[in-house]
């Protein structure tokens, strides 16, 4: 199985290559990708350098152009595809059907991967896009159990890739407007979720309060570390329940399922975290590489756990009881 690693900067790109990635994915510095955060992502020149660095070491470069094209401004997205191809990216990762059609028509021989943002969670959806646009690989949304991943992988006419570590969307990816409901900015359109530009904090005695737009997302007692107000991981009230209604502030860790994924025929394992720093990239990639090489052990997994957001992890939809 290939190990697919994130990079938000040229430096962390090199770190990921050095730490043992088989492929590194990154995006351009604008709203064409789903991690459109300030100070993150690569310029055209940097992508050229990245492709060279990776290529010389036998590592592939994947470029995520995985937001949905803004009507009337499609040229920004098609230009991103043109540039990624011209600069030598090994594959482009796409969610938008119109952009997929463009890439398939313009660059029929260039590898197209279906982004997790396409929310392609079943065999008919995936095979339709394989037949229509020659998709070579699908990144599966985080809504499937290990058994379902195995079933999809058996039936689809392309490779499958699954997230095994890092941030976790509770909602099906590419089909969530919670962020734009609160802030006007969304993953699908602007490539941001619960953007920092709309985050604020307040205090009430010893309590720390986090807000997104006009809404209170969490209140942290004095003895509790304050987390980032990602909407689906906030504390809310419904009926008699008060607390983390959608999901605790946890991140995904399904490394213990790697043997099952291998047996299922999954082609690639993906690490989330283009927004994370160099230390995270080097350590996570290194440790998972070791685990993949079967030399992994308890202490390495413990080191990984410490790098997780909120330091608590879940296997998410991979295990049926999560639902």
């Amino acid at each position: 199985m290939e190990l697919i690693c994130p990079a938000g900067t040229l430096t962390s790109f090199r770190d990921a290559v050095d730490a043992g990635a088989d492929a590194v994915y990154c995006g351009f510095r604008n709203e064409t990708n789903a991690r459109n955060f300030p100070g993150l992502n690569l310029s055209r020149d940097e992508l050229a350098e990245a492709v060279d660095y990776a290529g010389a070491r036998g590592v592939k470069t994947l470029v995520a152009i995985n937001t949905f094209m803004r009507a009337g401004d499609e040229a920004l997205w098609t230009k991103a595809v043109d540039d990624a191809v011209a600069l030598g990216a090994d594959a482009i990762i796409i969610a938008d059907l119109g952009l997929l059609a463009y890439a398939a028509e313009r660059y029929p021989d260039h590898r197209r991967h279906l982004s997790v943002q396409a929310a392609a969670a079943n065999v008919d959806h995936i095979n339709f896009l394989v037949d229509a646009f020659g998709v070579k690989r699908v990144v599966l949304p985080r809504v499937l159990t290990v058994a379902e991943i195995a079933s999809v992988t058996r039936q689809v006419r392309c490779e499958t890739e699954v997230f095994v570590f890092g941030g976790l969307c509770v909602m099906e990816e590419g089909r969530c407007s919670l962020s734009s409901y609160a802030t006007g900015k969304s993953p699908n359109m602007q490539g941001v979720c619960s953007p920092a530009s709309h985050v604020s904090y307040g205090r009430n005695g010893g309590e720390m309060i986090s807000y997104l737009g006009e809404f209170t997302v969490n209140r942290f007692p004095e003895d509790e570390p304050a987390g980032y107000p990602t909407l689906c991981k906030g504390r809310f009230v419904a009926g008699d329940e008060k607390g983390y209604l959608f999901e605790d502030p946890v991140s995904l860790d399904v490394l213990s399922h790697i043997p099952a994924l291998e047996q299922a025929g999954v082609s690639a394992l993906k690490i989330e975290g283009r927004q994370r720093g160099r230390a995270y990239i080097s350590q996570v990639v290194g440790q998972i590489r070791k685990a993949l090489n079967k030399s992994g052990s308890g202490p390495e997994m413990e080191a990984l756990r410490r790098l997780s957001e909120g330091q608590r992890t879940t296997a998410g939809s991979f295990e049926k009881r999560w639902r």
Partner: protein, 307 residues
């Protein structure tokens, strides 16, 4: 300048699929009343949110379709929004195998199942631009209800860029914001998705979610998360028509939907001004806080009063 009498192009009104789990007799009676009394052109039926609910209304579907058809309403059948299980795939494929009713697809698997036959596309399919609309049209889509998240500028650009398709917008109702493999609704009530005892049926208008500072925020509807506010694109009806939108979707809430349709009809026909329309909606659905922010490209929960 001579005063011209503008002829307003007629706009279709459709009742979208009922997104909540209603008791079977209430469900049937709702549609009977729509069939007999509502001034709407079409009605989309069927379970969109959760396949576990499908058996509740399946036995009543025949009589409801018959009544709606007799009432002059064009009936469409909706497909599921999230398809992961084998039986969900089977029911999606079955929609493609029947030719009696037009299908509204809410997932690409259903679009694939149509094999090029004419069909409608629901608001949960990501159509953000003209090229995507053209891809779907090439596969048989003849009408598209655009995603509620889109601003007016995008609606205009899509209609211009991909002509020959009927365009609809989500004009009334709590907005479906997200769908998950996990059922927050069941969890809140101490259950899990696989052993849910259909607790979502206890909240026929959604279970309100508030912030820790008591701000109304969202509503739970099984695996779907909806807006607390009720989207009402009533003040913008003239602009929507001018942009080339030909159909307005009214999504059922626990309120007087016959009155809601009447108000939209009056505003679309120019017999009621938009402000009066919004005010009248307040009477038809007294619990609602209205919003239209998505259309203006601002936070979706906000309400901007049309000029």
């Amino acid at each position: 300048m001579a005063l011209e009498v503008s002829t307003t192009p007629s706009v279709r009104l459709t009742i979208g699929p009922l997104l909540y789990l209603w008791e079977p007799d209430k469900w049937r009676d709702f549609y009977f009343r729509i069939a007999d009394e509502a001034d709407v052109d079409g009605v989309t039926l069927g379970e969109v949110v959760c396949s576990k609910r499908q058996h509740f209304h399946q036995p009543l579907l025949g009589e409801v379709i018959e009544r709606l058809t007799a009432g002059g309403k064009k009936v469409r059948l909706a497909s599921l929004a999230l398809v992961t299980l084998e039986r969900e795939l089977r029911s999606t494929r079955l929609l493609g195998e029947q030719d009696e009713f037009e299908v509204e697809v809410n997932e690409i698997a259903a679009h694939a199942a149509m094999r090029g036959k004419p069909h409608a596309v629901g608001p949960l399919v990501n159509v953000y631009n003209g090229p995507t609309a053209r891809v779907l049209a090439a596969g048989g889509a003849t009408s598209i209800c655009l995603p509620p998240e889109l601003p007016l500028a995008s609606l205009r650009a899509i209609v211009r860029d991909a002509p020959g398709i009927e365009y609809e917008v989500f004009a009334f109702g709590r907005v479906p914001l997200a769908i998950s493999a996990r059922c927050a609704h069941a969890r809140v009530k101490g259950a899990t998705k696989d052993n849910c005892r259909f607790v979502c049926g206890e909240d026929p208008d959604g279970l309100p979610v508030e912030t820790l500072d008591d701000q109304p925020f969202l509503a739970l509807n099984g695996v779907q998360t909806m807006s607390h506010s009720c989207q009402a694109l009533i003040g913008e009806v003239p602009e929507l028509i001018e942009a080339g939108i030909t159909s307005l979707r009214l999504s059922p809430q626990r309120c007087d939907m016959v009155a809601v349709a009447q108000i939209f009809r009056a505003v679309a026909g120019g017999e009621m001004d938009t402000r009066a329309g919004l005010q009248r909606l307040g009477t038809a659905y007294p619990d609602a806080k209205y919003s239209n922010g998505f259309l203006y490209g601002v936070p979706g929960h906000q309400l901007t009063l049309a000029r």
